[in-house]
């Protein structure tokens, strides 16, 4: 899950960059950028961090 979290986070960065070349419309680029930020946050706070919290010191 830790690796998956990092992978999703990196994809969140690459998505807006790909979007820059996929569309020239400002609205399209806005949506790609928004989706990228959302994906990054899911990767960090939704996948990566819970994978660490699962084994946290206070749960033992």
């Amino acid at each position: 899950m830790k690796f998956m979290g990092l992978l999703v986070t990196v994809c969140g960065w690459l998505l807006p960059l790909v979007g820059l070349n996929l569309t020239s419309s400002l609205a399209g680029r806005f949506i790609f950028a928004l989706a990228g930020i959302g994906l990054c946050l899911i990767g960090i706070l939704g996948i990566l961090n819970p994978a660490y919290v699962k084994d946290a010191i206070w749960k033992k």
Binding site: G12, L20, G36, A56
Partner: protein, 551 residues
């Protein structure tokens, strides 16, 4: 006759200009002569000037002293290139140009010194918010990050960041910084890192303008590096801290700073893709604070929370700091240093719209004040008391948020940005603490990470187009700027966070990030540093996780 009148006019003008400390009238606008001179050719630069018309004080006058200060500094102080010819127009104009650059050098250096002093503020805030048993360790991390970061930045960080940033007009050009490694993708140039300036000698960078730039950029980098120590305080192994700080100073910070400030691909989003003026981050909400805050987040996730921070049901315990007076004093030191951080980012006070420093300074103080208002009101309404540490964090949140937009927004925008930051920091602290279960003893992730990202986005909303670079946001008719800022945010989250996380995983594997449980319970001062922060006080164990207080 007319030519003689003209010569008198032009000499008087040049000398008066020089006496007014070199306002760069000719150096800046050589192609705009006055109407009366348009038909007459300009005098040769080598033509001698009649010095007596400047009416310099006589030697015996100067020998009597100058208590009023009206005689010191006159035409006699202008260096003459050829004593046989005497003072020429060329000498006067060169002196005007050097005066302009000298003003900008002094401005940039002095504001850099102010930013350096912020290290003391960070040390006080972080140490005050930690327990007494960890005071020496926390203070030492803040102390050593300065030297470690400086060294790594001198070796390679500065070169990666600014090695291709030539064209800093306010500092005379910094021409040796002319190497940028770039890829050409989809017909666009993507600048990735600089290639000149390793050890401040490689690539001809033994240069005064480069030195000024180095000092100013170095203290910014050190600000980012010292943010991480707060998020990981009270359980971070000192060796791991040292390695992590060197990596931030040498690689992660310079990379993003190059993309934003060094001519890299983020700054070119405007030219390449028509997104406003490209990613705009005036003084570093993203480059400095979000990089530091997200690095703190990455390290805090890896290290885990302090013993006693969370109960088995997931509820959190407050672990108060040992000296709130030190915290608030540190906040004031930081607010003072911010007058170097933001106004100093003009890299000059003369020419090129640099007088914007006045607006930038007012924006900075306003946003800090409204930030503390926002946090105080939130805490007062929610918990019934105006919490002191969150008031301090609110002030810092407002300052962090205004850092990126300070060069581009008016005072109303600044006040709103600060107020929103003051609210956001409270919500973020609660989210990080209670929902994400990430232990951040000083609130560094929320203050610098969350509010840094808000500051980046706020440029895309509030920039009014009157500041440097003609940056205009969504509310002033340019939605493309907001998209550029959002791409910057995605880069910080997706690239910089990941890079930091992966490196710190290696450190964790080979060195170990966290101290032993015994050392943590005992306090890190003796196990890690070999001496107590407060050796004459008796520390008594109290509360969850046996936090120590000063008896």
């Amino acid at each position: 006759m007319r030519r003689k009148k003209f010569n008198v006019l032009i000499r008087g003008f040049v000398l008066a200009t020089f006496l007014l400390c070199g306002v760069p009238a000719w150096a800046q606008t050589p192609s705009q002569p006055t109407t009366s001179t348009q038909a007459t050719p300009a005098p040769a630069m080598s033509a001698p000037l009649a010095v007596k018309e400047a009416n310099p004080p006589a030697a015996d006058q100067m020998a009597k002293g100058d208590p009023s200060g009206t005689l010191t500094g006159n035409v006699n102080d202008v260096p003459v290139s050829n004593p046989k010819v005497g003072l020429t127009l060329g000498d006067a104009v060169n002196q005007i140009g050097q005066n302009k650059v000298a003003i900008n050098f002094v401005w940039t250096l002095v504001t850099g010194f102010l930013v350096m002093f912020m290290q003391a503020g960070f040390a006080a805030v972080e140490t005050g918010l930690c327990r007494a048993k960890n005071a020496n360790h926390t203070m030492m991390m803040n102390f050593m990050v300065y030297g470690l970061g400086l060294f790594a930045y001198w070796v390679c960080g500065f070169a990666l960041q600014m090695g291709g940033a030539a064209g800093v007009v306010s500092l005379g050009g910094a021409a040796p910084l002319s190497g940028e490694f770039a890829l050409h993708i989809a017909g666009k140039t993507w600048g990735l890192w600089g290639t000149h300036g390793f050890f401040l000698t490689q690539g001809g960078t033994y240069d005064v303008a480069v030195m000024v730039l180095f000092l100013f950029e170095m203290v910014f980098m050190d600000t980012a590096a010292t943010i991480v120590t707060g998020g990981c305080a009270e359980r971070w192994k000192f060796a791991a801290f040292a390695m992590s700080s060197v990596f931030l100073a040498a690689i992660t910070y310079p990379l993003f700073a190059n993309w934003a400030w060094g001519g890299g691909w983020l700054s070119q989003l405007g030219a390449n893709y028509g997104l406003g003026a490209g990613y705009a981050d005036f003084a570093g909400s993203g480059v400095v604070h979000a990089v530091g805050g997200l690095s703190a987040l990455a390290c805090a996730i890896i290290i885990g929370p302090r013993i006693g921070k969370y109960n088995r049901d997931g509820s959190s315990n407050a672990i108060p700091g040992h000296d709130i007076t030190m915290v608030l004093l540190g906040c004031f030191i930081l607010a003072f240093g911010w007058f170097g951080f933001n106004p100093g980012s003009t890299l000059g006070a003369s020419g090129g719209g640099a007088l914007r420093i006045a607006t930038i300074a007012v924006d900075t103080m306003l946003a800090g004040a409204t930030g503390s208002f926002g946090a105080v009101f939130y805490m007062w309404i929610r918990y019934g008391k105006p919490d002191a540490s969150m008031s301090g964090n609110g002030l810092l949140a407002g300052l962090v948020a205004i850092t990126a937009p300070s060069g581009f927004v008016n005072t109303i925008g600044a006040a709103i940005i600060g107020l929103v930051a003051g609210l956001i920091v409270c919500l973020s602290v609660e989210f990080i603490d209670r929902i994400a279960h990430i232990d951040d003893p000083v609130g560094a992730i929320s203050v610098h990470g969350t509010c840094g990202l808000w500051g980046v986005l706020s440029v895309g909303l509030f920039a009014d187009g009157t500041g440097m670079g003609n940056v205009k946001g969504l509310f002033y008719g340019n939605p493309g700027q907001l998209v550029a800022q959002m791409i910057g945010v995605a880069t910080l989250l997706g690239c910089i966070f990941t890079l930091t996380f992966v490196f710190n995983l290696f450190v964790d594997y080979f060195v170990g990030q966290r101290v032993s449980a015994q050392a943590e319970l005992e306090g890190l001062d003796i196990p890690e540093m070999g001496a107590l922060g407060y050796p004459e006080f008796v520390l008594k164990m109290q509360g969850p996780g046996m936090a120590a207080g000063v008896a």
